[in-house]
């Protein structure tokens, strides 16, 4: 299990290959990559991500630990960037490996749902003249409901 919080860019393909290597007994590998996209209104020039050093690592490690407790995972990877990101740049990535594809998919979705709403990151969209904090979506909070029963 590997958790990285960093300002630098990462190569999602290279990370996927490094993660998959040596997993000959886990037939299913799922990855999610989040990429900076333009605002719906357009005209964004960059995204700025603030985080809470210390709590971030702790929160992600707890979420990843919970995923391992719930599913039979061979391995899991979480990378999340902070600082200033350009449009089209990768923001974050999650990868999971398991013998069973359903477990790999569910664990990746679980990690994403919790990272979205429980890891201390805040996104700001930077326009040419203005900047605005991204507001949390009700649907992101609602997505956690899927995992609230202890039994999976």
């Amino acid at each position: 299990m590997s958790v990285r919080v960093q300002t630098g860019c990462f190569d999602a393909g290279a990370e996927l290959n490094a993660f998959s290597e040596g997993l000959a007994n886990a037939g299913a590998v799922v990855s999610f990559t989040g990429v900076v996209r333009d605002r719906d209104a357009g005209g964004m020039v960059a995204m700025e991500i603030e985080h809470y050093p210390g709590m971030t690592e702790r929160a992600i490690a707890a979420i990843a630990e919970e995923a391992r407790r719930r599913w039979d995972l061979a391995d899991a990877l979480v990378i999340h960037r902070h600082g200033r990101l350009e449009i089209g740049a990768p923001i974050m990535m999650v990868a999971t490996a398991s013998r069973h594809r359903a477990a790999a998919f569910e664990a990746a979705e679980f990690l994403m749902d919790y990272l979205k709403s429980r890891a201390p990151f805040w996104k700001k969209e930077i326009g040419p003249e203005d900047a605005a904090w991204v507001e949390a979506k009700d649907e992101d909070e609602a997505a956690l409901g899927r995992w609230s029963s202890g039994a999976e």
Binding site: G34, I49, E50, H51, Y52, G54, M55, R58, A59, H80, I91, M92, M112, L115, K116, S117, R118, A119, P120, F121, W122, K123, K124, W133, V134, E135, A136, D140, E141
Partner: protein, 82 residues
């Protein structure tokens, strides 16, 4: 003495990312009342508690949580990572 940390627009409204606060508040809610009474910028930051989240010593908590033994209290809007 408690370290208060502020993130995102909470930090912007208060104007500093962190500060040491002399307090005898028993709960987070009491601490918020003390801060609100200080200056308008705190009143602006803590105007709507339903729009805020709080962490005590880097664990999510709620406003009714006791502060006994806490070293660090952080205030921020709902997270938007991922």
């Amino acid at each position: 003495m408690i370290d208060c940390l502020y993130f995102a627009w909470v930090r912007e409204r208060i104007g500093v990312p962190r500060e040491r606060v002399e307090t005898s508040a028993a709960t987070v809610a009491e601490l918020v009342e003390e801060l609100r009474a200080r200056e308008p910028r705190y009143a602006a930051a803590f105007e709507d508690l339903s729009a805020l989240r709080v962490a005590i010593d880097q664990e999510l908590a709620d406003f009714a949580a006791p502060l006994e033994g806490a070293r660090e209290v952080a205030f921020f809007p709902p997270m938007t990572g991922g």
